[in-house]
Symmetry: C5
Subunit: 324 residues, 5 copies
């Protein structure tokens, strides 16, 4: 689906509604400002149509057709192809959902295609139109920055969500609520996948920041540096989280063992508590002829008392040494 | 065995059947298009014959004679020698089978040799002949690309198969089906071997992509970049899987301990359940003369009732605290 | 809040009280010495005012407005932006508190902004004014050095505090005081976070040391090298601590298991000690007609003696084999 | 001991027996072909004699005098000093034995010295004399290649031997034969030491391969590349083995825990099996007056039957839930 | 304390006793040979005096005043400042003691300062004066080499001592002597600290070896290479030891679990051994009227025999299955 298709001149949108792809391509070729075509879950046909109109690089278009790409930045002569992983943290499920944005940047055009759970780009478009008109004057690279900026900004709540979950898990395991193993494991899985989504982006971002691509106007470089810096921060945090979760998994194992110890101690204490009166009963169950206490009127009550008191004493003893 | 031996001119196969090696070598020398010789489990003699005909580099031919090479790309002056590890995932056995393809690329000739469980190259040849004639015009390097492309494409189902198994294992261990240790271990072993098959390829692919070899025509570079990108993606996924499996092994250990705890608790609960009525019986087994309840007509039934009720109460208690 | 705002000429403060920002900016522009503006928890408005006065780089000012930046050094043309993480070890809570100092260094001005628990910079300012006037003559970079020096100096007590805690934990776990798991884990968490605060600083410091920025006067380079060296030392120590804590966590796990063993042995010993007399009692509780000892006058006392002696012997035995 | 000392001209040995060192040195100086002196466990004196004759670099000679060097390649002006670790796998002891070969290569001479369990070099010498005369024509560097080639070839059976042992250990631990901990540990120790013997060689080999030393004739470079490739393969395999053994150690730990679980379950099942009839007996051991079953003629046989049947039922039950 | 202060010309000491610092500084300035001042635990005052006399770099002198520096090599223009960690292994305590040597090398002077448990340098001085006069002719850098050489030589017995301890620990844990956890942990701690003392030295040593400092005369470079090689060997060994100790810690954990298993099995066997005769006794303790065996004259002896034989049979059985 084509979501929007607009022509910008000197940073200002030239019309209200969406252009059709042919018109847009013409504007792009004319060198008069640039056009931005936004696609959502594009069919192969739509993709083909746009690719033909703008003469997009063949292999890149093929990549854009499939999902589950690795994030990358590819420079073709005169144009760029960017694959970005978007992410959204679902607090309910404690899961990170990933989407994908493919972006073609060429002389006079930007074509973006969203797949999966990618956050809508209308925000980025709006912000660019309203807040950063001066950037748009620098040309189509500003679209690249705006999208990168939004995607990376959207990583923030993901790491924050994972951070919260880690703190919850810490409370769980150190608060005695056992068996968070599964939760820890799946959190770690999330972090590993998340890292896989960000980290391949760091090198291309550093290249953009250092000005490795002459097509990117000089005045945009600080903005790319800002995004790169942000991405590095998020990635560093994810790395720390991975390390933390490894430590939690180990701590958890120790705690499970400690807890097992406590269970064994408690069980043993109770076993002792019942073993003693049983033993007493077995004494008075013996058949010796000469057992004078058996004949006493109060023998039985005394025996029962002994059988009651001994476990109570034991109970207090085990309480004191901390086994109960 | 020589599977096929064909002469291509301007990207078009010049004949139906297979040429013999001598003719092929002549075509290669004549500089008129190129020939592609395909060998399958070649005997030393066949290898020697082809090597002599095309004057292949000595040491490379020796390498091609043995299996279990490490993937590599070697540049001799004017020619290349490539060793590729192929892989196939056997869902039944949950095992990755590895094969090997050796490829000689020289001026005017391509000689490929398959060993072990390597996927047949007829697909690559066909696709090249039918879909990518324009590439074949660029010369013999197109054959290199086609084979690399197929080999790397075939890695995809392997990582996918392992991914599935990992998910199964996750369900197994978190679903309470214990002792997946062996399965986890062998999955990890597979991933380690698989990584060993891919990773040495990444650097040569990056060199091809960056145009380090002037013999590779410029127009093929995006195609090599495509393969390189694909290989990196597969390798990154394998790395994640390795890390995941390490975490699963640790999680598994914690779960085994947790399960052990549960077993000990259940056992102890049952021990308590039987200890109490036994204790009661031992009381009334005592030989005190003055035990009035012994003489009651309903003494015995009452005692039995007590012996029945106390375990039931205990059972309910242990249910409530989650030990049963 | 603007804490101080002073004008220095030839390394000497030109006045007692604080200037206002406008005056300061004028001094900065005049190229006559430099000014140092110190902000504490600046409001967005204050930041804006200072940014406008000194024409600070836009994106850097945005960064300075939010907390939780990653330490970094950014060079804008003609000016620098530094983000530093400060740290303080709270012995009571065994926690590292982090703060942040943002620093703008430009031609003729230094603007520092403290956030969170950052240590006050009055010490750095004083030391510079009194001890290092010769450095201040070298210009505004001296302020950069003074702040870096103080921040890195303040890392020292943090690693020292953690070192102490590690030694305490070692004594705890090897002294038999079990279950230090939580403490070890949180110490490790601290070290990971602390490392995250220092390590991004190492590369910029190395650049400063190697003279990568021509704006930094040559005579200050040994001072930056001194700071860099100090930071590397602290970071190396933190890395060792991280590794140590990993080992402690593992050692702890082994000790928990060893302790569990001891508990099981002790419990079993006690079980045996009570099982033997119980067994003896059950013998004499049998109803055989011909059990001559039952009729002996001293049968019962003898039996009781046996029931007393056998556990004592067992107790001594278990003591000897170290189970009790 | 001087094992052999020969003069080669145009790749052909010039005489049958061994020359004496003085003659050899003269040949070396004359620039007419080269000499190869082979030493075995040389005494300090022998070493000194040879060093003086060929004017070997002082510090290298000192190194050659002691064992336990780290593999290295040192270039002195005009000459090379190589230290190689040789290895042999002793299947009986499951141990890797290490030896050492020191090699001096200079203009016109090669001096090799074997220490410890180094494999004899007669094979390398023979192969060079018979199969690779063309290489020897390239000069003394061919001797360097021949020795490197043999040493690295001899690594192959070592990794193969360790591979076999790893497979045995896998069968051991997953086949239920417990406590392979010690074997796993010592295998890992072997692999670590083995890696230490190979890995320092990889960089010098890569330098040789890339032609960093102009003294090495161009035509030998593919041969050094062959050796380097081989060494990398062996090293990569050793690295995989190290990782595998780490995983095995972890898997082993999980299996020990699983096994412990099974033991506890079996024990508990048996405890229950005996507890029930004991309880039954204690019921009928009570002294209630009105226990009609006690007076039945078949009471006792019935009771015995009950005491027999209940454990059988329990046994079947525990079999079914897999505890026995 | 000033230990020695000597003037060397053409590698020969010019006088017997120690010069005073002023004289020495004059010699240094005159460019006639060089002086070597040796300090031991210098007071701040002594350091100041020497620093003033030789005009040592300010920041380096500050560093030399405090202990616990990180090893480093700093080049000031015309002079060097070296910090070295010395180490000594105390076999009794199984501890590595660290000391520090600071060395100033400038045109015409060498100033060394020992702190803590640093090995005395008289050996290095003597060896230089007696064995390496030719090196001393090369100037003051020879002093640098001599000290480095001795410090690195002294690392050898440390790794050897740790190696011995590792072997002892291996015997301990695999010989059944449990709970070496503490010892393993502290060995690992030592190795980590030791690595921290050596590793920062490797890069400066490699720089010296590669001739990065033109002040170092060419003829000394092989000697620095020798030291660098030695340091790398020691460091590689320490790294292996660290890895080994990690494996030992893991193996230890598995062994503790295995041992626990054995204890549980033994305990259970004994529990069964006593449970059977107790059960038998409870049978004959029942009050059935018709229990003919109770009336037999040999009933009781038979019962006792059964109660004796059954545990013996069980004992043999448990022996056979390896539980006892």
């Amino acid at each position: 689906m084509i979501v929007d298709c607009a022509h910008y001149r000197e940073g200002v949108r030239q019309h209200e509604g969406a252009l059709d792809v042919g018109q847009a391509a013409e504007h792009a070729r004319s060198g008069d400002g640039f056009v931005w075509v936004g696609l959502l879950h594009p069919t192969d046909e739509e993709l083909r149509q746009v690719a033909d109109a703008f003469d997009l690089p063949e292999l890149a278009v093929e990549d854009a057709g499939r999902e589950h790409q690795r994030p990358k930045l590819e420079a073709y002569d005169g144009s760029f192809f960017l694959v970005l992983k978007t992410s959204r943290y679902d607090q309910e499920e404690e899961r990170v959902h990933f989407g994908e944005i493919d972006l073609f940047l060429g002389s006079g055009y930007a074509v973006s295609a969203r797949h999966g759970e990618a956050s809508p780009l209308t925000g980025a478009r709006k912000r660019l139109q309203e807040e950063h008109q001066h950037l748009m004057k620098a040309g189509v690279a500003a679209v690249g920055w705006a999208i990168l900026d939004q995607v990376v900004d959207d990583y923030e709540p993901v790491v924050a969500g994972i951070e919260d979950d880690i703190e919850e898990v810490e409370q769980e395991i150190f608060g005695g609520g056992l068996d968070s193993t599964q939760r820890i494991y799946f959190l770690k899985r999330e972090v590993i996948e998340f890292h896989r989504a960000i980290s391949p982006l760091l090198v291309p971002l550093a290249l953009l920041e250092r000005g490795a691509y002459p097509q990117i106007p000089e005045e945009l470089r600080p903005f790319f540096r800002d995004v790169a810096d942000h991405a590095r921060r998020v990635d560093a945090q994810a790395m720390s989280q991975r390390e933390l979760l490894t430590s939690i998994l180990e701590a958890n194992l120790a705690l499970v063992s400690v807890h097992q110890n406590e269970v064994v101690q408690a069980i043993s204490a109770w076993a002792a508590i019942i073993a003693v009166p049983t033993f007493l009963a077995s004494i008075w169950g013996m058949n010796f002829v000469h057992m004078p206490e058996l004949k006493l009127v109060f023998g039985y009550p005394f025996a029962l008392t002994g059988m009651l008191v001994s476990p109570l004493l034991l109970h207090r003893f085990f309480k004191r040494i901390g086994w109960l």
